[in-house]
Amino acid sequence: MTTLDSRPAASPAAGLIDARGPRFGAAVTAVVYAIVLLTIPSALAAVLLVVQLVAHGLGAVLGVRSQPYGVLFRKAVAPRLGRPTEFEDPAPPRFAQAVGLVFAAVGLGALVLGATPVAYVAVGLAFAAAFLNAAFNFCLGCEMYLIGKRLLGPRTA
């Protein structure tokens, strides 16, 4: 029905990415956060949070094409799947990486400082966001973005 689907898969509109990439990344991220939740407080939980922090950081700073799980998807997963049929703008998933970065940082900081309840809350929220993205294609950070703008943005009237 949409013009997107009728486009040749090999030539998506300029700048768009395979929509399955961020979805795959969200699934990996959800698994990582689930393991962290089950192992708090431990060295393994801290190490996994560092890994996740780096992954989010690369995605947020360099873009989703450089997000390690995205690279893994492109190199190892996508070639085994069919051609992509859905493409999306990389800006929303990149923003989601930045939001994830904040939660991973808070979780790691809390864990290191011994504030275990805070770590549970931060990692629990990060897991919720990654799970919603993977299971329902729902971007929690993106939805919060307009609400935040509404609350904090300038008022002219």
């Binding site: 999306e88 923003f95 919603l132 329902f136 729902f138 973005y145 008022r155 009237a157």
Partner: protein, 157 residues
């Protein structure tokens, strides 16, 4: 132990939310128009009374910065971090191209926060279907399906 509880609570809550959202996303809601809505003259430049965000709201060309359609206007609120906004644009453009007197207007929510607050837009995409007088007749939060947009126009055209 705590981690398992957090994990399960998040899984159940996020799944319930995701399923609810999947069911209601993009659903078109008809807006009741108060009997006196068309009599109450709106003074341009004056803020409207609060609490009327849904009922009896009317938009003018000056609100949108472009002319309204003769018979109907499909107003789409979009933002930078919004994956479903692209698909919504395609759907609304198609409908506007197929039905005479109907135009599609896309509004950058971040650049029009006053309008966003006045209309109580909380998500992108949010779609408002205006009649020929600019009255908000139908509203959807989330990406609507094409058939639902056509049906929404059918409620008053």
């Amino acid at each position: 132990m705590t981690g398992i509880v957090v994990l399960l609570v998040v899984l159940v809550a996020a799944s319930a939310f995701g399923l609810y959202r999947r069911r209601t996303d993009g659903a078109m809601r008809e807006i009741e128009i108060p009997a006196d809505a068309h009599d109450a003259a709106h003074v341009p430049g004056q803020p409207r009374g609060a609490g009327h965000a849904h009922q009896g709201d009317r938009l003018e060309a000056s609100d949108l910065g472009t002319e309204l359609g003769d018979r109907a206007t499909l107003v789409q609120f979009s933002s930078a971090f919004c994956a479903p906004c692209r698909a919504t644009r395609v759907v609304l453009d198609e409908v506007a191209g197929q039905v005479d007197g109907v135009v599609h207007v896309e509004v950058d929510a971040e650049a029009n926060l006053d309008l966003v607050r006045r209309l109580d837009v909380r998500r992108t995409p949010t779609v408002l279907v205006l009649d020929g007088d600019g009255a908000v007749r139908v509203r959807a939060a989330g990406a609507p399906r094409k058939a639902d947009v056509v049906a929404a126009l059918g409620t008053f055209l």
